[in-house]
Symmetry: C2
Subunit: 441 residues, 2 copies
């Protein structure tokens, strides 16, 4: 059988990882793909000393790879929107299969890309775009094919999880850990995508589309970062039996689909609450299987290469079959996707952790609980802490103490109205800190 | 496109689960499979009120299903070796694809079955045979295709894990928990397969063959059960920072492959150490991806049905393609399997937990540590407990106290020789309790 020729666009960290793993495990990969696979053409602005490209042709123009008639499969590893989109569309229109690790591209332009690929009868696979080396796309697209997915929740940004883990383990401040993470290379110089949840939102949107067979809809995803998490919230959460994780959550309800990335309190007995450091994990609840969890490294050269090459093997296995014999990008054909309504945050149901700094005077807690009760919000737990007295001579009434509450599940719009009423109390001077709570049970 | 007809042999708990899930999610399953899938023929000795078989033909002779020319895919759910083997071989020779949940059958007769299937150009899939609803077979066969698997470790028997979890959480005795588990339906009337590790060994052998591309070799798997675990071992392990789990472990070394099922101490900070109750999990270490873990329900009607139907969807997707377009049973063609040597237990390397009941007299610990040191075995941790004084008037020399040690990694034959020497000491009257220790790092 003809050897399958692979072209790579982009020879950064992941590109070098793909070259190295392909070389190291060449025989096993050929056995699993059913035929020889060879990297024949690499497009990169510069060489990368982290790998030896062997006999592969190297072009400085990445478009030379997608226009090379000898190349059967194009691996896109340049990242970003442009020229990645143009490159992928050109590869498809040239009849080449595409494997990409580019979550931003898929989240933003996946609909256009998948439609073009289906029309052309080629595959676009993207296992490496979500949760690095974890084969979560394959699990959801094929492994759980029998299920209606009810919800999923993922720790899908390693940088954010590293920061939250350090804050908990060492009682450190967010800014402080972030600066260290930047020095260690775990966080970018501009950490916005990671700490504000944009990277996680890209990945969540992809998982939600796979879960619910719906088109990608990045703009509808709610995103809240972790920069406002205070060390005392981490401590109070722990005292109440919870851990704070930055989760991407997608849930199908009768009203529509929730898609949201935000810090979340999770009961510490849940397995996913114990996923620490830069590791990723995705918890998926199917109607037949129940809860399943997938854990592993969310980034890195070889973990990402592992996913990229698995996609290549998948493409090769059916490369001479009919397009109908290949699993579609989102598990179902384009015509079977349906654009489900995405809920706005005011319409979601969840529970809440609140930290309210109040003047230490009688009756405050009772005023607060009265407001919540009037709003139909039940309280699950209360933690009232002693004031940390900073001056010896302050009057009791001017001392600030934190009241910490965990509510039952409620509609977010209702909760926000209650927060506004509480903030209007005389004894409440700061704005209220709240973090959503999910039981994931 | 022609509807694909599925026949089911066996309508017990899992069979009813398959019927129910197929009915409930029929549209989604068709979308994922790329065409309609219909259960047309069921072979079962008796009806099962847990499901409504609709318009499917029902035969009391299960062979009527595999000999039905209208059936494209046979789902074997009768369990055991015979007539399951004859049924599956007959289905293959009739040119039908087979999906089975039968771990005993695959572990014992997989080589013969897979060879026949390859020759006939049909698929035999068995996701449900290992770890119930967790798509671990697909993850290893396809998701990790780029990797050389270095080792794997799995909690792959829910009954055993439930018993160990109860022993830890409630300080209970093995026999006591087992009796309860039998009443709750978590354990069989004859619990041998579960508590002696035979069921786990069936599954481990399948995972090891997938991991290392080698023929199935059940007879070479070492199996040790959990019935000798004492509550005090659970407590001492906890004090040393470990949890006891019944693991199936497969590891590739330069000398050969380790395949062993036994109770194991694992550091409690590992995610897999926190997999409790009837849940299953498999930790897989690939050379490219690093560690990945897969968690979910290891048994039950619908979790098992989830895996069975995922296999059906896989078969349907490529049912009109060439056999070379289908992923082989063990990920590679029969000719690419190699019969690697399986190590005997005396040749494996691991660490050990020892509990030695000694007479409370001076110098015993020093004698024991001297023997270990002379055998080249380092000690990682020591826990010397006070005697629990049962009589007020016993002489110090006749009081028994437990000495608990954790060793460094060593060759098992060397360790066993040291144990023999320690048991020969005057102060040591009982036989030594030991449990293997794995860091899984």
């Amino acid at each position: 059988m003809k050897t399958i020729n692979v072209g790579i666009c982009g020879l950064g960290t992941v590109g070098a990882g793909v070259v190295n793993v392909m070389q190291r495990n060449v025989a096993a990969i050929a056995a699993r793909a059913g035929r020889e696979v060879s990297i024949t053409h690499i497009g990169a602005r510069r060489d990368n000393p982290a790998c030896d490209v062997g006999s592969a042709k190297v072009s400085r123009d990445i478009f030379a790879v997608v226009n090379d008639p000898e190349v059967d499969i194009v691996i896109e590893l340049i990242g970003g929107y442009e020229p990645a989109l143009e490159l992928v569309m050109q590869a498809i229109s040239n009849g080449k299969h595409v494997v990409t690790a580019n979550k931003a591209l898929i989240a933003m332009h996946g609909n256009e890309i998948f439609a073009a690929a289906e029309k052309q009868g080629v595959s676009v696979l993207f296992e490496a775009a979500v949760a690095g080396g974890i084969p979560i796309i394959k699990a959801m697209r094929e492994g759980l094919a029998a299920n209606s997915i009810e919800w999923l929740a993922g720790i899908i940004n390693g940088t954010g999880n590293y920061i939250l883990t350090e804050m908990r383990d060492k009682g450190r401040q967010f800014d402080d850990v972030l600066a260290d993470a930047q020095q260690l290379g775990y966080a970018e110089a501009d950490p916005t995508f990671d700490v504000e949840g944009i990277d996680a939102a890209h990945k969540l949107v992809i998982l939600a589309s796979l879960a619910f067979a719906m088109p990608l809809n990045f703009d509808a995803c709610f995103t809240e970062g972790i920069s406002a998490i205070a060390p005392q919230d981490v401590v109070f959460a722990g005292e109440l039996g919870y851990r704070i994780k930055h989760l991407g959550i997608a849930r199908k309800t009768d009203q529509g689909v929730e898609m949201r990335v935000h810090p979340t309190l999770i009961p510490q007995r849940r397995l996913i609450a114990n996923v620490d450091g830069v590791m990723n994990a995705v918890l998926v609840k199917g109607d037949a299987v129940g809860p399943t969890l997938y854990y592993g490294p969310g980034a890195g050269a070889e973990p990402t290469a592992s996913s990229v090459i698995a996609d290549v093997v998948d493409v090769v296995r059916t490369i001479d079959a009919e397009p109908s014999n290949r699993v579609p990008a989102l598990g179902v054909a384009q015509e079977s996707l349906s654009a489900l309504p995405i809920l706005s945050m005011s319409d979601i149901n969840t529970a809440y952790y609140l930290r309210i700094n109040v003047n230490d005077q009688p009756g405050v807690l009772s005023h607060i609980t009265q407001i919540l009760s009037d709003s139909g919000i039940s309280i699950e737990a209360v933690l009232q802490k002693e004031a940390v007295q900073q001056e010896t001579n302050v009057k009791a009434s001017s001392r600030q103490i934190p009241i910490v509450l965990i509510t039952d599940r409620t509609l977010e719009s209702q909760f926000m109205a209650a927060v506004e009423s509480i903030e209007a109390l005389d004894a409440v001077q700061d704005s209220i800190h709240f973090i959503r709570v999910e039981s994931l049970g």
